[in-house]
């Protein structure tokens, strides 16, 4: 079980409504988190199969994901998930920040993440034993930070700090590796979705400084 966490502090009672683009950002992070944490069930697959994207890079990734969801069933994708992420001793890809940044699991990046989780009021749910620096968990955390699920409302500058500290330095490379994984069929368009979305996020965060007056 990955990615289960809950607010350790009281949620902000005066949470403002979310702008459309931030709702969408939270939704995409949540979708990625859901798919990277575990293989989708039949109900979720049926919904994904109905997607239609536009001609943008992210739109094409969504269209490809929908087509793959129509061609594969849940047990097949569950088996693929095992091959890609879990394997016997390890999967084709190792989806942890610590591994990508240091070559080892449970290392400094995980410690840094735990520090920020404590500061931001994100607590791991009981019973979850996997390290928190799993890409699926991190996507779920971003979704929660955008949506204000944990504590006080998290502004864009804070979101950017979290993104830069825990995602930006490694996740694009991870998604490129996932896209290239031999066993990946469903997870190939998932990887394209992740990569194109993170590229949008990176460019959009860079616009914060440009828009703020000194």
């Amino acid at each position: 079980m990955f990615g289960r966490w809950e607010a350790s502090l009281q949620p902000d009672q005066t949470t403002q409504p979310l702008a459309d683009e931030d709702q969408t950002r939270a939704h995409v992070y949540a979708l990625l988190g859901r798919l990277l944490t575990s293989a989708p069930d039949d109900a979720l697959l049926a919904k994904i199969a109905a997607f239609a994207g536009d001609e943008s890079e992210i739109g094409q990734a969504l269209t490809a994901l929908a087509a793959t969801a129509r061609n594969l069933d849940a047990p097949r994708i569950a088996a693929e998930y095992q091959d890609v992420f879990t394997g016997v001793t390890r999967g084709e890809v190792v989806p942890y920040a610590s591994y990508y940044l240091t070559g080892f699991l449970h290392s400094k990046p995980l410690a840094n993440l735990r520090g920020d989780m404590a500061r931001l009021g994100i607590a791991r749910a009981e019973g979850v034993v996997e390290p928190e620096d799993h890409i699926g968990s991190l996507c779920e955390m971003m979704a929660g930070l955008i949506a204000g699920a944990f504590d006080r409302a998290i502004d864009l500058a804070e979101q950017r700090r979290f993104f830069d500290a825990h995602i930006a330095a490694w996740a694009p490379r991870f998604f490129a590796d996932l896209e290239a994984a031999k066993s990946a069929v469903f997870y190939m368009p998932v990887a394209k979705l992740g990569r194109s979305f993170l590229a949008i996020e990176t460019q959009a965060f860079a616009l914060i400084a440009a828009d703020q007056a000194a």
Partner: protein, 65 residues
């Protein structure tokens, strides 16, 4: 800056539109509005956004096997 939220900038909003995030909007929202089958029985009402913290917390339990 004293506001808890950075003011939404037109430039950022425009960028998201041209990058195709608008296309992703309806798609992703259609997925996340439903709770997972394994969850507790309470029906989650459709909300306009993430104003409901409980709604959001229940959604994140989708990860549970």
């Amino acid at each position: 800056m004293t506001d808890s939220k950075t003011p939404k900038s037109p430039t950022r909003r425009e960028f998201f539109k041209t990058a195709g995030l608008g296309a992703a909007a309806g798609v992703a929202a259609g997925l996340v509005s439903e709770p997972a089958p394994a969850q507790a029985a309470d029906a989650v009402p459709q909300s306009q956004g993430y104003r409901e913290t409980e709604h959001v917390k229940r959604y994140y339990e989708l990860s549970k096997f």
